[in-house]
């Protein structure tokens, strides 16, 4: 088990280095002078500033040396400097990261739980109207743009019905402490997390339903019934456990989408995470910040993948024992 984790971490490290290399080359591939690209709109006008940048980043030196400098910098947690925001990129990201983690983790867990349950429910009622209803809803959620549902949710639940807050992380100016603060955040979390999770709920529901139906056709389910086991136990112990495996794999694969979707959700709900930061960076053409966020979100995805891999390892003995 330990060996597995170590190997995965090694693999992840390689991928992160590859991403950084990609980042590096993207800056240089962009049309225009790399120094101007790095300085963004704010700094590009100032020639002295650009010269300063060139010296600082050794832009006159050969490409590989620059790459080395860049990678070395990252190891010291230096992801560059955002001239627009006048702060190191790393610091900017660090302050905003927790909000995104809360949002994505909640959306992940909620979508997985509800989606799987809905899938089991639907698979038990194939052909009946409840199954059709769930399947149609899933199809709709799957086909709807994430940001649009978010906007409609704000419109309906926040603006018109005034049930839930549709803006920000916590009530502005209220300065709650302790439990009240947690509850306040949780209230603000409801709309963003559920709209972000809706798409994935549909994905997990469909996968679970299909998987449950497929597994119930397999021989060992017949064996279980032949033993005289009650149908509930057959469904839970034999069908569900085996049907869950592909869903876990899928959850790992969806991690990338989840992190990407956060950008849209945070923009609509003004949620102060790195997704919204990315939106701001786009508007300001702050490429350093943009690439820094890209790097961190990739790291997040790798973390998600590691977690789902470990879960899969725990659930399926066939991988564990060989």
């Amino acid at each position: 088990m330990i060996r597995f984790i170590l190997m995965r971490l090694a693999k992840a490290a390689i991928i992160l280095i590859a991403i950084l290399t990609l980042n590096f080359f993207l800056i240089h591939l962009a049309p225009g002078d790399p120094a101007a690209v790095m300085a963004g709109e704010a700094g590009a006008a100032d020639a002295k500033f650009l010269a300063q940048l060139r010296e600082q980043f050794g832009l006159d030196k050969p490409l590989l040396t620059q790459l080395g400098l860049y990678l070395g910098g990252v190891l010291q947690f230096d992801l560059g400097f955002s001239y627009r925001q006048q702060m190191p990129v790393a610091d900017l990201i660090l302050t905003r990261l927790p909000a995104t983690l809360i949002l994505t983790m909640t959306a992940f867990v909620v979508s997985l739980l509800l989606g799987t349950l809905a899938g089991v429910f639907a698979s038990a009622r194939v052909g009946k109207w409840s199954d059709t209803l769930i399947s149609v809803l899933a199809l709709l959620f799957y086909a709807t743009p994430l940001y649009w549902i978010a906007l409609m949710a704000v419109l309906v639940f926040s603006v018109h019905l005034n049930w839930l807050p549709g803006f920000g992380y916590e009530t502005v100016g209220a300065n709650y402490e302790g439990l009240r603060r947690v509850l306040d955040i949780a209230l603000h979390l409801i709309l963003p997390a559920s709209t972000l999770g809706l798409f994935f709920m549909a994905v997990y529901m469909r996968m679970t339903r299909a998987s449950m139906l497929e597994v119930s056709q397999l021989d060992f389910v017949k064996t279980a019934r032949a033993k005289g086991l009650k149908p509930g136990i057959v469904q839970r112990r034999h069908v569900f456990r085996n049907a869950l495996l592909p869903v876990v794999t899928l959850a790992g694969l969806q991690a990338g989408q989840l992190v990407g979707g956060a950008v849209l959700t945070e923009t609509v709900f003004a949620w102060p995470g790195i997704g919204r930061l990315m939106f701001e960076a786009l508007a300001q053409r702050d490429y350093n910040l943009l690439l820094g966020i890209f790097f961190i979100s990739s790291a997040m995805v790798l973390l998600f993948n590691l977690i789902t891999d470990i879960v899969y390892l725990v659930v399926d003995p066939r991988i564990r024992v060989t």
Binding site: L29, L139, P145, W148, V259, V263, L264, L282, L291
Partner: protein
């Protein structure tokens, strides 16, 4: 061909999807005829609500532009981007997957590590970065979408080729002296065609969603009126003008829904006809 059509027709959802898609395509093609003026032109007072005036059934936006006209021209963008980027992704993914599957060994390892890398990176974030760095225009958008969309194609093709490679009729073809190229072209690829077609229809749907998301964030081609752009531009005025966000979203929903339904219909209709021995 005829019985493929019969099987497809049996899936009611697929037929609905086909009708919807045909409608969208028709609107896209007829847009210049139905709305001769550019959708960017101001034609009435801003914030005209829907159904207030007959000539503008869906109202006007923040700058007085005709929403319905914007929808029609937006259809062109969505369909164009969806189709071209999918074709590009297929052109990248199919050869990579086919080579990895057929030749195996080191080639497979290298190509698969390469594919895995692109699958691990959050695709939307990568698309944003690519479009931002290479300046938003239709070419960079199509390119970015293609670059983040090809891994599933390669994975699928590789899987199919691997399972076929040990299939007995492929072995028989090798035995009968056919060249590798002939075998890949005439035996392997036609049998992987069905899953590719199904995947392609779903990819067009995803590409449309991706393009609209990029446009929503302001990364769309500034010269093209796209549905995502319309929603993004209306984000800050959602309280006053709900219809500006609503209708383009419905348009996206219907188009993507249609493509998904068609994809599922294709899947049912194209399933292999290996008649299994019944017991």
């Amino acid at each position: 061909m005829a019985d493929f059509w019969n099987r497809f027709k049996r899936n009611r959802g697929a037929v609905i999807g086909l009708v919807l898609l045909a409608l969208v395509i028709a609107i896209a093609i007829l847009a210049p005829l139905l709305f001769p003026q550019s959708p960017w032109r101001m034609v009435q007072r801003p914030f005209l609500p829907p159904f207030a005036m007959e000539a503008f059934p869906l109202g006007t936006d923040t700058l007085g532009r005709n929403v319905l006209s914007g929808l029609a021209y937006g259809a062109q963008v969505s369909l164009l981007v969806g189709l071209v980027s999918t074709v590009a992704a297929l052109l990248i993914g199919i050869p990579i997957g086919a080579m990895a599957g057929y030749f195996g060994g080191v080639a497979d390892d290298v190509l698969m590590r390469f594919t895995e890398f692109f699958q691990t990176v959050p695709s939307f974030a990568l698309a944003i970065v690519l479009v931002a760095i290479f300046e938003p225009n239709i070419k960079s958008i199509i390119g970015a979408i293609a670059i983040v969309s090809w891994p599933p194609v390669a994975r699928l093709v590789r899987g199919e080729v691997l399972s076929l490679r040990s299939r007995e009729y492929i072995e028989a073809a090798i035995l009968s002296g056919q060249t590798s190229a002939a075998i890949i072209w005439r035996q392997v690829l036609p049998n992987t065609l069905s899953p590719i077609i199904v995947l392609a229809s779903l990819m067009v749907a995803t590409a449309i969603l991706l393009e609209s998301s990029l446009s929503f964030l302001g990364l769309g081609d500034p010269n093209l009126m796209s549905w995502g752009y319309m929603i993004g531009a209306a984000r800050t005025v959602i309280r006053q003008a709900w219809w500006l966000s609503f209708f383009p979203g419905i348009a996206i929903l219907l188009t993507v829904l249609a493509l998904n339904l068609i994809g599922e219909g294709l899947n049912d209709a194209l399933n292999p006809r290996l008649a299994r021995r019944g017991k």
